[in-house]
């Protein structure tokens, strides 16, 4: 691979007390590409993402952003770097409208700082939604309570776009969606990557992964089993990597895989 990753995590180790959760994980995110993070329950996907988000601190290892060493001590550090996490439960307030949700905690104030600049926020929110071609939403002033699951996901992703995020991590974005809405959201994820953002998608749905991702990183019991390009891969190969940690000549050495058991 000739490109330099936008974000690179090297030799990441993380333990919770006696439980060694992440073993020497190398994980990279590239500009304009979708990287899928797959693995069985307890494989360490969420832990890895939480280390990236600053919710957990890594024990050893290094994180490079744009080729520079960075340390992430908390969610604010991650946000400052332009890393945005879209959690599975989306974290939207139902009683507020779309604009209010997208600017929540970062509202644009007027000069004297007392009142809010609603016009500016509404325009920017619309622009972010339009840039992702979110066409199904009728009005940016709709209450989030009135949105469908797919629309909510779109709003949550657009929120990440609004803040010029460079890495967007999506945690199971299609888990609760129907067929049509899943297609919408996957198209949105693709457009997000095409706009130059490094996208990480966590998913259990192999069809989604193959459809939208450029590369797949399979975790197996806290180790990186393999990184494969979607173009050279298949559902059965990825499933094998997830369930046994190896597939044919790639994956963990049999000894390592067994020790991990």
């Amino acid at each position: 691979m000739t490109e330099t990753p936008l974000l690179e995590m090297r030799n990441i180790n993380k333990s919770f007390g006696p439980v060694h959760v992440l073993h020497d994980i190398d994980f990279s995110v590239y500009e304009g590409q979708v990287t899928a993070l797959v693995g069985d329950n307890g494989a360490g996907k969420s832990t890895l993402v939480k280390c990236l988000a600053g919710i957990h601190q890594i024990d050893t290892g290094e994180i490079l952003f744009d080729g520079h060493h960075v340390t992430i001590h908390g969610p604010r550090d991650a946000a400052a770097l332009g890393i945005e996490i879209v959690y599975q439960d989306l974290a939207l307030a139902d009683n507020l409208d779309i604009v209010q949700n997208m600017f929540l905690g970062r509202e644009a104030a007027r000069a004297w700082g007392l009142s809010l600049n609603e016009g500016f926020m509404e325009k920017e929110a619309r622009r972010a939604l339009a840039s992702l071609s979110v066409r199904t939403i009728k009005s940016a002033r709709q209450k989030v309570a009135s949105l469908s699951g797919g629309q909510r996901q779109s709003v949550a992703i657009a929120k990440a776009v609004l803040w010029n995020s460079r890495v967007v991590v999506l945690d199971e974005p299609t888990a609760a969606l129907g067929v049509a809405q899943t297609a919408q959201v996957l198209a949105l994820v693709r457009r997000l990557a095409d706009s130059g953002v490094g996208v990480v998608i966590i998913s259990h749905n192999m069809n989604d992964v193959l459809q939208v991702a450029d590369r797949v990183d399979a975790l197996y019991l806290g180790r990186l089993a393999a990184e494969v390009r979607t173009a050279d891969s298949s559902v059965s190969q990825i499933v094998e990597l997830i369930t046994t940690g190896r597939s044919g000549s790639i994956g963990l050495a049999p000894a390592t895989a067994d020790v991990s058991m």
Partner: protein
């Protein structure tokens, strides 16, 4: 993250423009996607939207206004004294303390919390005010050293607490309260009222700390404090005693149907507030439309503002008539409490609707976890809501005291708090948090006050009817809220 020019690896194949991502990187996707998003275009479309919202479960103030009209019709038939100028003035002064306490409770109800102690806390604040003005500002003389210094200690501790959590307005208010406490400045009625509010602020910091930081459910905290403040009130006033505050003309005039502003001032007030509202909403609609933002049609704004101006105009006109039964005395004008409540109403509404703090309060009430992840300091919002509640409760206590011209051991006890909660809920504030406005307390407070007012004009109907009718109205409002929620879940319209 700064990346000085040149340090970025040169192998990057993507053009730099694309890396800044997002909204600028995809010009092909037109902003015109939302060009139709300017809100309803006609009064008819607005009305259709509104009907849809109501059918979808967002009933808003509809039950309260409907209930108010039904009660008006019933009582107008029960007694011919009901729809008189005198009774209108009486009704306003009867509703005022309930409305103000309701306005206080909206702040905690918005977070899905409750403050059961607001009633007795308001009694304590009113007692401090009463003691101050009846003892020439020398609180120590009446309270005795122990109570005097313990109260000061409470204020000092909460002052430090407010400073630790960087809630500066509260810290300043409590500091002012401490200064008043230790000087004889509170001989002045206005400063004594300020003292009541500062004491309320201090109480709010304590309640907020126990709820947000210690983590006791607000129901339990405020249930305990409900008893506690009742005890403090008895200690302040003395068992079986009462403090007469009616002697102070300033205090008495606050809540008297007979002390009013002149008719000319009444019209000026009307022009400023009703006209101001109409002008502001018109300007906003025109400005938003011109800038391509979502806006109501001008016709709808005119109808809303016009209706408000007409209704309030009729009220002003009625109150400006001579309502004296004694031909030798002229008794006219809007009761003095109205402009006071109006100013509070406007300030509090603006804080909730237009400031970042208000936005964060709604967000915390709607989804505290989302608010936390958005970087909002949720605990501070919680404490602040209790501070608003108790500070305003302190003022409500002053109003109650002014109305009855006295403070005694039962002030703020009994049904006071429950009526105020009922007022907010009837007006449309949800007990589940995230939904509510200051105006809810106004409409709901009028509904709550109109029941005993109407019944008192028919002596054959005893107080039992008051409680039973209030119960039915409250249940009706709560049921409307619950049913609308169920409907909202079913239809997905919020």
């Amino acid at each position: 993250m700064t990346d000085p020019e040149g340090t970025r690896p040169t192998v990057t194949s993507t053009p730099p423009a694309a890396s800044s991502a997002g909204m600028t990187a995809t010009p092909s996707l037109a902003e015109t996607d939302f060009s139709g998003d300017v809100g309803p275009k006609s009064i008819k479309e607005s009305f259709t939207n509104y009907v849809q919202r109501v059918r979808g479960g967002d009933v808003g103030m509809l039950p309260a206004i409907g209930g108010l009209i039904v009660l008006l019709i019933i009582f107008a038939n029960v007694s011919d004294k009901f729809l008189t100028k005198t009774n209108l003035a009486n009704l306003i002064t009867q509703a005022a303390p309930i409305i103000l306490l309701g306005m206080a409770l909206v702040w905690v109800l918005l977070l899905g919390e409750i403050d059961l102690s607001a009633g007795t806390a308001s009694g304590v604040c009113a007692a401090a005010m009463g003691i101050a003005i009846t003892n020439g500002g020398d609180l120590k003389a009446h309270l005795g050293s122990t109570t005097y210094y313990l109260t000061a200690l409470l204020m000092l501790v909460t002052l430090i607490g407010a400073a630790v959590y960087r809630i500066w307005p509260a810290a300043v208010l409590i500091a002012v309260g401490l200064v008043i406490w230790f000087t004889h400045l509170s001989d002045n009625s206005l400063i004594a009222i300020l003292l009541a509010m500062c004491l309320g602020t201090s109480i709010g910091v304590l309640t907020g700390f126990l709820v947000a930081k210690v983590g006791i459910p607000s129901f339990v905290v405020t249930l305990a404090l409900f008893l506690g403040w009742q005890g403090v009130l008895l200690q302040f006033v003395g068992q079986g005693a009462s403090i007469n505050v009616g002697g102070r003309k300033f205090i008495f005039d606050l809540e008297s149907a007979t002390s009013a502003i002149t008719p000319v001032w009444g019209w000026i007030l009307w022009a400023v507030f009703a006209g101001g509202y109409l002008a502001f909403t018109l300007w906003r609609a025109a400005h938003n439309r011109a800038n391509g933002l979502v806006a109501d049609p001008i016709s709808v704004v005119l109808v809303k503002g016009g209706a408000l101006a007409v209704v309030t105009g009729v009220a002003v006109w009625l109150l400006n008539q001579n309502r004296s039964l004694n031909p030798l005395i002229v008794q006219e004008g809007i009761p003095r409490i109205v402009p006071i409540l109006l100013v509070l109403f406007v300030i509090l509404t603006l804080i909730l609707a237009k400031t970042q703090f208000g936005r964060h309060l709604y967000a915390t009430g709607g989804n505290a976890e989302a608010a936390r992840r958005a970087g909002i300091y949720v605990d501070r919002i919680r404490i602040s809501a209790f501070i608003f509640c108790s500070s305003l409760a302190g003022l409500a206590g002053v109003l109650s005291a002014a109305r009855t011209a006295s403070v005694d051991g039962t002030s703020g006890g009994g049904n006071t708090l429950l009526f105020a909660v009922a007022a907010a809920v009837i007006g449309g504030t949800s007990l589940f948090g995230g939904k509510g406005h200051i105006r809810d307390a106004v409409i709901g407070g009028l509904v709550i006050a109109i029941i005993p007012n109407g019944l008192s004009l028919k002596p054959s109907l005893g107080p039992q009817y008051n409680l039973i009718i209030t119960c039915v109205v409250l249940l009706g409002a709560a049921a409307a809220d619950a049913l609308s929620r169920r409907r909202a879940r079913a239809t997905g319209v919020g």
